[in-house]
């Protein structure tokens, strides 16, 4: 198949396989597909029998993969100030950059006049999130981070998968100077 673009010479844009008798009867291709499936079945079987990894599908969320990268982009958390409040100033950078539009923020006046602005609502719809990490990159005050773990990102209905501010603030890491003495934006 070729098509003509006005102003350009007639060119073949796709490298298609030629139709031959063997491709047209299909049986050879069907047999090839069955062979690939069977090959992987025996390969995974062999891995499982010799206790090697990658053999069987992980039964998420009951079990998680042990070989997850430490740089994996998993669950979102909100970083806290030393008084337990969120570091977020509700600037909407994450909500603006989010390609899945899953972040909802409403700002309100903070009692602390040096902070001025804090989130009243901070919801992440985890069922819509594509875990791209743009929100973490966009945040000017390092208020949102992503943990490596993907534990329990499940829910029986889609409203349970909207994480509100309290859920996201439920992160108590090992004492870390950066987190305990959070900086003042």
């Amino acid at each position: 198949m070729s098509y003509q673009i006005p102003g350009l010479p007639d060119m073949e844009y796709m490298d298609r396989q030629k139709r031959t008798f063997l491709t047209q009867i299909y049986y050879r291709e069907v047999a090839r597909g069955v062979w690939i499936t069977t090959k992987h079945f025996f390969r995974n079987m062999w891995k499982w029998m010799t206790f090697r990894k990658g053999g069987v599908v992980v039964q998420y969320p009951e079990e998680t993969r042990p070989d997850m990268s430490p740089n994996n982009r998993g669950r979102h958390v909100l970083v806290q100030r030393s008084n337990g409040e969120s570091r977020c100033v509700a600037c909407q950078m994450c909500g603006t950059v989010c390609p899945a539009e899953c972040i909802t923020i409403e700002a309100e006046e903070s009692k602390n006049s040096t902070i001025q602005r804090k989130p009243k609502v901070f919801d992440i719809d985890i069922s819509r999130c594509i875990f791209c990490g743009f929100c973490v990159e966009a945040c000017p005050v390092d208020a949102i981070r992503m943990l490596a773990s993907t534990e329990n990102l499940v829910g029986y209905n889609r409203f349970k998968m909207i994480y509100d501010k309290d859920t996201l603030l439920n992160w108590h890491p090992v004492v870390n100077d950066d987190v305990v003495h959070g900086y003042n934006p």
Binding site: C91, R117, P140
Partner: protein, 484 residues
Amino acid sequence: MKEVTFTVDGKEITVPEGTLIIDACEENGIYIPRFCYHKHLFPSGNCRMCLVKIEKNPKPQPSCMTQVSDGMIVYTDTPEISEMRKAMLEFVLINHPLDCPICDKAGECMLQDQYMEFSGDKSRFNETKVAKEKLYHFSDKILYDAERCITCSRCVRFTEEVSKTNKLGILNRGDTSYVALAHGDTFDDPYSYCVTDICPVGALTSKKFRFKERVWYLHKTESICAGCSRGCNITIETKDNKIYRVRPRENEKVNQSWMCDFARDFYIDPMKNRTSGTQVDHKNVTYENVVGEVVSLLKEHGNEMTFVLSAYATNEELALAKQLIDSAEVKGIFTKPDRVWHEGSEEVKSDDILVKEDKTPNMTGIRKIFPAAKDLSEMIISDYKYAFVWGPNAAVDKLDGLQIISLSAMRDQVSDKAKWAIAGRFAAEKHGSFTNCDGIVQPFRRALKGENNYDELIFFVGILKGLGVEPVGRTVEEVRKAAE
């Protein structure tokens, strides 16, 4: 007027004598960055952002203070000038707090825009920035942040030249200077929100809009203010069918760049007591039923009916209403001063700047289309049996003993008393045009989705069809075209 020709970046431009270089360039598509210069304020030339190179002039000149002369050769884009712009931005940013994440101006800030366009340099300032007052309450409407302020003096010149209250001034010198009120004074100016629009940075912000929404999410609709007969050009900014703020739009002939505080407030607080649906004898019925009943009323009792016009109606609706009145041979046509949004609020009567005594937007349009319309107070009730009352706030005692058809966006005594009640829309919910006090016809677009599925225009088209008359148009555009 005498015209002069001069050259900018190798381009020959002819403008009237006395034009400033910055204006002449902007009219011809060359944008010169500026902070302190504003088209409708007297130039002060203190920000030094608009410096240009003029041939045979030893030093760069501020283009907002220099008038064009014949044969002048101006350069706005030499390496020397761009270096100067970078240096000026660096000066401005030395003590600027960079709290864009918590600043309401972020997204429409001139400092942000011009930094991105003309500089982009990293800060070399390692010392401590000068700390100033962050929350200076000018009034219950305006909040001032002295750290963000670049002391361009636009707001000061605004109170001196436009609102003429002389409330603001700049105190101290150098990096400790800030805008201040007289001791113990408040900034109670009927045009005070204008300073938040003209402020090039986020130093002066509106308390009503504070932290409500980021500006880049707001959908902007060009509209005309319905607060008084001046017809100020405005931009209604909405998100999710809710008005967040209203800002003036530039129009040299009507409102320059200004708008009163009063109108901004009533657009944000939605109109209370709205009517909804269609009722006959206080029972909800379908829209088609009501149109049918009104059509049969007009057919049978057209000559016993009086038509009370609304000065909130658009010119297009009035054109259809005129067709209706002519074809149904309705006898008396009256108007009324229906001032719905001015109830229960501190009212500015009128002033020399913008606010007019007549608080309705389209009284001039009524006078043009219905020259014979009289005021409602001149009506003699015994002449009529039915009254078609359009718009709220008709004097209810003037309509005693009449059967009322009410077409109104707002609930009041008349719509409660009406036998046939039809809900209407208010100005931000429909397309149309208003004729302002000077006779300028100004079109506007719909900013909000109305609660009802129909507006007054559709209602009149339905009635005209029921009467067997072909309406001059079924949409605003068609009616406008037919009127031309």
